[in-house]
Symmetry: C2
Subunit: 331 residues, 2 copies
Amino acid sequence: MPELRKDPVVGRWVIISTERARRPTDFARDPVRAKGSNCVFCAGNEDKTPPEILAGRGDTPPNGPGWTYRVVPNKFPALRIEGDLEPSGEGLFDRMNGVGAHEVVIETPDHQGSLATMSADALADVLMAYRDRLLDLKKDPRLEYVLVFKNHGEAAGASLEHPHSQLIATPIIPIMVTEELDGSARYWQMKERCVWCDIIRQERRERHRVILESKGFVALAPFAPRFPFESWILPTRHRSAFEELEVDELRDLATVLRDFMRRLNATLNEPPFNFMLPTSPLHDAGLEYFHWHLEIIPKLANVAGFEWGSGFFINPMPPEQAAAALRGEAG
Amino acid sequence: MPELRKDPVVGRWVIISTERARRPTDFARDPVRAKGSNCVFCAGNEDKTPPEILAGRGDTPPNGPGWTYRVVPNKFPALRIEGDLEPSGEGLFDRMNGVGAHEVVIETPDHQGSLATMSADALADVLMAYRDRLLDLKKDPRLEYVLVFKNHGEAAGASLEHPHSQLIATPIIPIMVTEELDGSARYWQMKERCVWCDIIRQERRERHRVILESKGFVALAPFAPRFPFESWILPTRHRSAFEELEVDELRDLATVLRDFMRRLNATLNEPPFNFMLPTSPLHDAGLEYFHWHLEIIPKLANVAGFEWGSGFFINPMPPEQAAAALRGEAG
């Protein structure tokens, strides 16, 4: 019997479609592996990107070789840093100028590198770069939100294969974040507890959707996942904003993320994936009802008309089975 | 300068990213054309589907040849028609049995047919089948909503190439429909006018986003489209529910849809696409604030991490240019 499950934060229902269930290995597609090299993000080609905003360097001068990661403006930005918002109407419609920031985090000079193969220290430096960019962009009063995300593999929307993530800063809080904030606030009003903390407590007690744990983080398959093998990594201590993380917590997160990526690659043959880092709005730090988290969604199937028209997702992989597979238990 | 635009119904912002603008023809990919034939939906193979629920037939007996369209249960249904909902909790989570209906509308016996090449009468019969199924499923008190949709081409999620659409009836009103209903109701509370009627009036006056019109319908590019060439077809007279349509209106809609599909195919080289038919909930007919509509989204690019994490869509094609291209004006 298929099952309907409700996301406890935003109230979105999903269909866990057991009639269409498959084994974990049936989801594997061609692995995402870098084929070319010497791309615009490779070491030696620093002049092919806009000048760097931030980089992991010893004594080397900016915009030359000798770095472990670089943050540069996106050469084809979705939003522009210059200008004023100038909101205006067009009859009943609303518009404003596309002011914001769009940056690329080149995660490693190694074209063939990946989150699964980088050293934990190098990955921690990348996570620290996210934090530093959040803290810096927070100073711009025009900006309300920063979303850090990663597209890995062409099927997941990546146009370049060199390992990189991105951030887009927007002058508006994105609607999906507003929905998460509103849902979390409703739960707080009812219970005076953070819904995310409650989820973490329940999942750690029940264990069947937990993938792995560290001192300060847990990776789990959510109760009502939209996609097969959708996974979340959350801090077990209440934290509403990513940029509140201390250095030792970032190192712990790097280890968990790397371990998770290795398990995902082993289970699904190096799949294309997206990750997203929902965190508090820039000017709302310290929320008692919201909890930042990392969402990872392998790109295994095309989203179709029913999902686009309803917001109701059909997922053929029960999260309990996905978590078991990612824990390495036989499917 | 990129522009931010807000959907006036659900409040979702999109980025119209002129920095990434391309000509209409740059979006074309490989055309979707049927390669095989003699599939399970072809004439002569009626025994390969579950028994038909409804069909366009003269005097021929059910489940044999001699039909113009057939409606059959989906052989691998996302939801099952048998059983009770039995809602239950699992700690803080909510679940219920996956009760509902999942049907396939085989639009024509011709494996190579399409919405653009069928006769307008045959297409009107298919639309009438949607209406008849809505009216029939409305009798089931367990069901709250029916979404009619179509996936055309593998990239749009179609697993079979024979022309078909689908409907899924759910025991819950889908979240995206709830958001449209809530947004429409808010506008009504403010203005005591239907927001959709207001949009139609403004677009018909301004013309630059109108693609084509008939006596009773208008096809337009919405002000804040999520996707390049996203298009809506709406009845110009206020109608909240698709199943309220009269036969002559269905014939008019068939002609508009066929004309629209021909324009889309000519502009984008027979692209993969989805369409969805948001209408009122089954037991809420006659809403003064809601207006059914047909949404068509060509599947031209992969949705990536920023969209999944934010609900904020980046669209490189301004709707005014998309509408001009679909009207046949030089780009």
